[in-house]
Symmetry: C3
Subunit: 319 residues, 3 copies
């Protein structure tokens, strides 16, 4: 693996999942793989789970992990080619990235979308500029449109919790209310991985006007009828996102889309997933999050093993 | 030791002090005790000594220490059960804590009181919620009402500096002026540990209206006459705190309560202690802080050994 | 080496450069030198390259490096002797420094000038107070008037790129436009090191009114004619600085001082240097920065080896 910014960087999803679960069983089995290697974790936006789980994963492999909060500890970066830098940006990615590539063996980067300009966000300029100029492998810790470590984690968690070899699970990605417009990253990425994985009956449900980009959803069944989607579901993945078509808006925010115990009765005793952080009693009710069907805590715990598997693949590729 | 949030978590104060002093004599003697263990240091409020000394202590034991400034690097946490999270809090402790408990073997947490609502602050909800949901041992790096690592440090420092086996030292906790209302944590905690320790004649002195909570002070002699308190004192512990009764206020702020060299003549050449940071020439005069009787620098240095002893106890209990 | 705050702490520049280049060839050759040692990196001002390169250098020597952003994670420090601390400063350097000296074997500190009061800035009170009170070696990560790790890096980079043993290189430090008044540190320090090194024909060029302090420039040729300066130059070091005489101002900001490819034709195919961050197309044109004569990325990469050589010298001196 050269970089890890989407499912397209993965040749065999199931093999990567298997690798992650092997690390879960024995976290320190490759403790020398990353000896004398360093990974830099750059955050252009805040992070809790992603930051800590990636630090832990790196240490399990014997790597040094150094965190740099670019927004808080550093200064604003410029990403536009040819910019006359007379404004607020202090350093160009063309200068920063190759230096970071000299200091680190692997760079991990988190950026967020603006939600103002769809074309810009969906060009993924920030992370592509880092890849172009860093000269070392780049791992996305969430970018403007995707969150691949989360999606890998989600498939790990689904595999751990689906033991029926006779049929594929029905997995539903459902939109949920929120209090402000959020990126489409987690939903896009989950759809992309589900479709690439192919080992599920995959359904997406959301209110009208919340269509996701077809490039990620193609292959999924899409419906505006949440109840129909939930019928006989084995896994329900809950997530809010803002509008894609009329970009970055919060159109309708119908509270009836919140997942509740009552709705869960339609499902096949489905397990409930969410990437966290979750707005309790807005996106999901307490009763579900605190109940026996919630996988959210295990899912977040699995972030470590997803990160460790990806770091390991990149380290092995470099050897 | 399961957790460390107050003196009640300690079965034998003197044994813990002895352990700390053994680490001071030989910092790396248990360098393998924490191998493959990780401690997460979560700061909901800023810290210098506490953060750095705990990092150093963890490393001395061979542990990885990972710092997370929740307020600056993360987002606001929700602590209320059943909250409908439509406001500023982004993640519930019920979701964050169990995840952190999966990433770390021990969690250390600093929170501060609001100083607005006494009942809330004295319920210590924040740290109790972390303990309830984390599933791993929790160490207080100062909470709403207590600062046990500081108090353990203080007793270590007193023991180091009291060699008279014929009588107990007289130890005076004296209120000092400040420029703004401060928590009662350090004073509460020092009183709680002094009373539990029992190896001193313990006196508290403060202006009227600055009574501390009786639950911590019971057993101490309390007086509003600073001079009477200081008479023949062997140790003077200087600290400002805001009002407890009419909660969180700065009533009177009489500069005559500042400890000076002149006042020290009443004492038995007392050693002077302060937890730092100190407002020089407001709480304490330069002449005392820079003079031969000040223990403040040694005291702060001892923070490392207190933290190391507590981490060690918890690691040994887990084995 | 006891401290590293200016060229005066170095007895043999060429030996230090040689040491740095030996680390570049074999980063881990002294991996046990710093075992059980800790370096604290204190930032009173933000940093990217300096912070990360020093962390990497310390780890290469087997040292623990702990970063503390005093401005963001801590609180404002007081540096004035005798201050009555009733204002915004929370802790005096007299209290903070000796404690840090107990926690760490070496302290690295970054401070910036105010650019308001020349006498204060040029007294270098902040770093001198740290040295006075810390009780352990102090390394400047840039101070009010100097940036010695940058200058050492610059000489390393020049030596790597100058193979002509028959003559000394001509090295030109040229002022460049900027959008706001910057410290004189990098320029002062480069001049100081160039003059102390003595192995170059050293020329400084800047617009009228931008004279640097003579204490650093004495020995250099100084001219207001940029073209004359650039003639036959082998290295051009580009840097903006604010006025020294009428202190901290941005007098004229003539864009014609920006270095361009056209101007480079006057030189002897000179290599171009800059300490970064650089305002592209304000200080330097894209065509130069992205062209074959730019050393800026290699130069920034060399920051690691400069820091490693200095840390190594201090560690060896302590033994």
């Amino acid at each position: 693996m050269k970089n890890f910014i989407s499912v397209h960087d993965v040749t065999d999803i199931n093999a990567l999942v298997k690798k992650a679960l092997a690390y879960k069983a024995d976290p320190f089995k490759d403790r020398l793989l990353g000896a004398d290697k360093r990974v830099g974790l750059l955050f252009l936006n805040p992070s809790l789970r992603t930051r800590l789980s990636t630090q832990v994963a790196a240490k399990n492999l014997g790597m040094e992990a150094i965190v740099f909060n670019v927004d808080k500890e550093g200064w604003a970066l410029e990403f536009e080619e040819g910019a006359i830098m007379s404004g607020n940006t202090v350093e160009h990615v063309k200068d920063a990235a190759p230096i970071l590539g000299q200091y680190f063996d692997i760079l991990c980067i988190r950026t967020f979308p603006s939600l103002n300009n769809r074309e810009d966000d969906y060009s993924e300029m920030y992370i592509h500029q880092f890849i172009k100029y860093a000269g070392v492998p780049v791992i996305s810790l969430e970018s403007a449109t995707l969150h691949p470590l989360q999606s890998l984690t989600d498939i790990i968690t689904i595999q751990e919790n689906w033991k029926n070899i006779n049929r594929k699970p029905k997995i539903v990605l459902t939109w949920a209310p929120h209090i402000k417009p959020l990126p489409q990253c987690v939903a896009n990425s989950f759809a992309q991985w589900m479709n690439a994985w192919g080992e599920a009956e995959f359904v997406i449900t959301h209110p009208e006007d919340y269509e996701l980009a077809e490039t990620f959803t193609k292959g999924a069944t899409i419906t505006h009828d949440q109840n129909a989607a939930l019928e006989n579901a084995d896994f329900v993945y809950v997530k809010n996102w803002s509008t894609y078509t009329d970009y970055g808006k919060m159109y309708e925010n119908d509270p009836s889309w919140m997942l509740t115990e009552e709705k869960m009765t339609i499902t096949n005793q489905a397990k409930v997933m969410h990437c966290l952080p979750v707005r309790r009693n807005i996106e999901l009710s307490d009763e579900i999050l605190d109940g026996p069907h919630s996988l959210v805590s295990k899912e977040a715990g699995n972030r470590v093993w997803a990160a460790q598997a990806v770091l390991s693949e990149i380290l092995m590729d470099k050897k």
